[in-house]
Each structure stands twice: as structure tokens, then as C-alpha cells.
Symmetry: C2
Subunit: 328 residues, 2 copies
Amino acid sequence: MKTKVAIMGYGNLGKGMELAVQEAQDMELAAVFTRRDPASLSIQSRNVPVLPIDEVKKWQDQIDVMLLCGGSATDLPEQTPAFAKMFNVVDSFDTHARIPEHFAKVDKAAKENGKIAVISCGWDPGMFSLARLYGNAILPQGKDYTFWGKGVSQGHSDAIRRIDGVKNAKQYTVPIERALNAVRSGEEIELSTREKHTRECYVVLEEGADAASVEKAIKEMPNYFADYDTFVHFISEEELLRDHVGMAHGGFVFRTGKTGPNKENSHVIEYRLKLDSNPEFTTNVMLAVARAAVRMQAEGQTGCKTMLDIPPAYLSPKSADELRAELL
Amino acid sequence: MKTKVAIMGYGNLGKGMELAVQEAQDMELAAVFTRRDPASLSIQSRNVPVLPIDEVKKWQDQIDVMLLCGGSATDLPEQTPAFAKMFNVVDSFDTHARIPEHFAKVDKAAKENGKIAVISCGWDPGMFSLARLYGNAILPQGKDYTFWGKGVSQGHSDAIRRIDGVKNAKQYTVPIERALNAVRSGEEIELSTREKHTRECYVVLEEGADAASVEKAIKEMPNYFADYDTFVHFISEEELLRDHVGMAHGGFVFRTGKTGPNKENSHVIEYRLKLDSNPEFTTNVMLAVARAAVRMQAEGQTGCKTMLDIPPAYLSPKSADELRAELL
């Protein structure tokens, strides 16, 4: 029996999820739900209905897991608690500071209705959270370092676009090689914000805008850019659309720590992701989590969970015997 | 209430475990058991009894987890099933090919007595197994690569010592940088045994032994050396004891995979360990697992487990709320 999943939202994440489901031998796509006019969507999968979001209730008994592919700013804070009343759900809520609040709402909805909801799945939060947790549990005396990039930061790109005279912009967060190597060597150094990342901005100006004042506005913007070495490159819109549409991202999580009678032994744990497609990697993580959610519910678990709560073996389609023989 | 643990065996692992317990705020060392004369052991911890192994039965109600710090060749195949009848136990059984057999014996003993036994904890098997599992679950279309080193291989060192004319020897397994970089670039290459690792041998000859014939015997030894580029260095016993007594080790687990409508997007997951002390890192992993074992038993779980079965949050002394707020 295949696990029946549905996709809520057909943007970059929804499209990545459809591909992920096609690769999974044990999964079947039952439906795609959208807030847009279903007739306007052309999906890859054959014989899968595209349905308006208000029909979702009718599908309660036909779907094992609803894969929520909306955004963290406005979609998921509403959708995850709402749909956790009807379905097991998985989301990729990534506003770190608001996770406890999101968790509480989703937990209540899921528990009251006997469902499992797994939030904040992807790479950060997600795989990077796991790397931090394992590192901290194993090396209790130590330091954490997370580096992001090279990849586009949506928030920083938006901040540039809001400046007068800017037509379009993309901002890359870039980890500084010297800092990576220092951490990798096991030195337990303190790194300032400026020492960890640079910010590379590709900016398209409005006709007649003043490049110097735009550059100044970017570099002096508090929180976003002032604490970093920021590099501004003015390019044409044509160049932006040709060279800067990729969705690559990634980063590094380090845990360094000391052991020994005199703390003379250094240990370095490094977890690195290099991703050509941020949304496709995220949906692959979410789909593995969907598999685990079904198993956890079958055990009688309900409520809100994160990847920190999932026995790793539950993410794999293989049996425990196979995993022990092949991967342990 | 602190978790009461005991250490079985006081070699390199047992000593590392004692240090690990001292660092853990939520753990208390109740006793150290040894097959040697207890009076001959001088341990670090004050007010902790050192006891002969045949007194272990009396301690059944006073220990939450027995940490088995013996070796995989002869100790653990006997000890883990035997002690899983009396205690929750954690071991670092690392003979990969014999894990299914070890699992079956330990599972029976633990289940019949309502105990949890977690086997094969450490870095490989252990953290590397987790890296392989997560990688496979997330990138189902892809390839696995595990590299070990730089570090001493006990098995290969022993093989050299068995050659006529060899007084002592240490063998380092060294991953080949070119291969690491090729995998890291996302190329899904096939690597032969020779392309992944070299073998560096430091050999002390017996008085009058023939260096050339020893070197030939090493380099042509099937399975151990014949398939590798092997480098033999003859040194004095003094040099061996001065320069080659460290217990550093480590390695790399990669999962590379493709996603996208035309599999055009590459992803690289890299998990790297660089460890100054192999036994101290291993015992730190085992101790975090001991914490999880107590929680799993409290939930009503029994039988044999591996790290693949453990919800990651259970490894940490922090609460689920703290973990979500701080590490997710």
C-alpha cells in the first residue's frame, strides 16, 4: 500500500514536491490543491486532480499526509494549524524566532484531532538543526558555528528592492573561507558577524537613479548590511535575469569541542550542504518526513513534532533489518 | 535525579567514558567493573567503587545504564547479550559484517528481561551510519561515499605485525584529497579502492630482518594492502613510541544526488569528523545514547536498538522546548 500524499500550493516548493513524490516508490500523489484557478495550473503528473483549496475537506479520508508547500511569512502560520485539524501535515516553517509560537498552535490543533504535524522541515531549520543537536549532545563542552551560503537571501534581496531608485536586486550571503578554515582547524575562536559572512549585492537601478547614493543606502542599512563587508555590483536587468535566477544555496554547521583529562583533545564535526536547488532539497526532506509521520501516527503518537523528534530509521523506505545490514 | 551509570572495562574506552560522565551534569558514575584485580586499577573519580565483574549481579537495581567498554573482537559478543539480561546497556560493537547476528542475540536477551540495549554506538558505526541514513532518505537518487582517516587502523597494524621480521608497526589509512574533491564537486564518479585511500605503514624491524622482503610482504598482502598504494617507512622503536601513539581518527561521509525535471540539479551532503581521540569521541557518543536509552525504556520500549532508532532529542539533556527554541 502506497502512502497517499497531497500537495498544498504549487509554487517552487510545490513543484519540487511533485518531482520528489514521483521518485518515491512508496508514495502516490493523490491531489494538488491551489488557491489559484485550478484550470490555470499545468502540473507534471498525469491523472492527478488539481483542486481549489475549499474542496480540501472532502479529501480527509483519502490522504495520509498533506504536504504544505506555502511560505512562512503568511501561508503557513494560518494553514498549518488549520489543516492539522484534518490531516497529518508536514511544513517547512522557517522563521526561527516564531517556531515556539507556531509549534504551540499546531500542537493543539493536531492533538485535538489525533493527527501528527511535523513543522520546520528542510535544511535550516531541519538538517542543520539535527547537526547542531547531535553536535551539542556528543560534545557538551564546545562551540557551535553555522555558516550560510553561497546562496540568495530573500530577506536581504527584498530589503535592497525597497530602496528608492532600485528596480530589482539579488543578494548573496557568502561564508568567508578564512573563517571556515579557522573553525575547521579546531581553534575555538570567537567570530564577529563581519568575520563570518560577506554580502554580495547585484542591483538593477531605475532609470536616472544615483548609483552612489543607492550603494551608500545599502551599505549603511542597519542589521541587514552595516555589520558586514558588503559589495554592490550594478548590472542590467537583462544580466540579473540571465545570471542570477538560480536557487542554489547551502552552508556549514560545525561543532567543535574538547575532551581529555586536561581538555587536550580537539574534535571537529562538520556538516555541509551544497545544493543546486534549495526548494527541491527542502521538499525531498519534507517527503522523507511524511513517511516518518505516518509511522509515528501508527504508533499512537499525535501532536506537533519536529525533525528532532523523529527516529531516523522512520525517514527511510527500507526496513530496520535492511538499514542495519546496509547502512549501519 | 541523576542517571546512574556504570562502566564495564577500564581500557581506553573505559577511561574516556569516565571523563565523559564527569562532564555530564545529569549523570553519576555508580561503579567501575573490571576483569582485572580491582586493587590494580587507579581511577580518576573519587568515591566510586572499582569492583570485580562477578559482583555485577548485585548492582542490578542500582544502575540505570551499564556502559560496555570492551572490544568488539571477543568482549562484546559475549558481554552485551549477557548484561542485557540485567541492565539497560550501550555498546560500541563495530564489526560491521556481524551486526545482524549481534543484534539478534542482544534483542532476545533484552526483550525477555524488559531492558533496552543500544548497540554499535560511536562514529562508524554510529554517527557515520546516521549520515548515510539521512543522506539516503533525502536523496533517494544518488551515491554514497565513505572515507576514513587519517587514522590508525588496528586491523592493518596487526596484519603487519604478523609478518616475520616485524617487531612493531602502525598503519594509517589516509583518504586521497583528489577523490574527496571530486566527490565534493558533485560528480557522481566511480572510485576504485586504490583511488579512495592510501596506506602509510610505520614499521620497526626485528634485529637482522630484511627490509626489502618485509616491504614486499606488506605491499603484496591480499585484501589488506595489495589493492592500495602502500607506503612503507622503516623507523626505530623509539620513533614509533614517540611519534605514533596518538589515537586521532576521523573521516568523511558523502551523499550526492540529483533532482529536477531532467536531474539537472546536484546536491552534495558532507559529514566530516576530525577527532584527536577516537576512544574519547566514541564514549561521548555512547553516553548521549545512554541518556536516550533511559527515556526509551520509560516509554515502554524494550529490546535491541541502534542509533538509527533513537529520536535525536532524546540524546540531549535539554528539554524539547529548549531544543526548539535554541537549536532548531
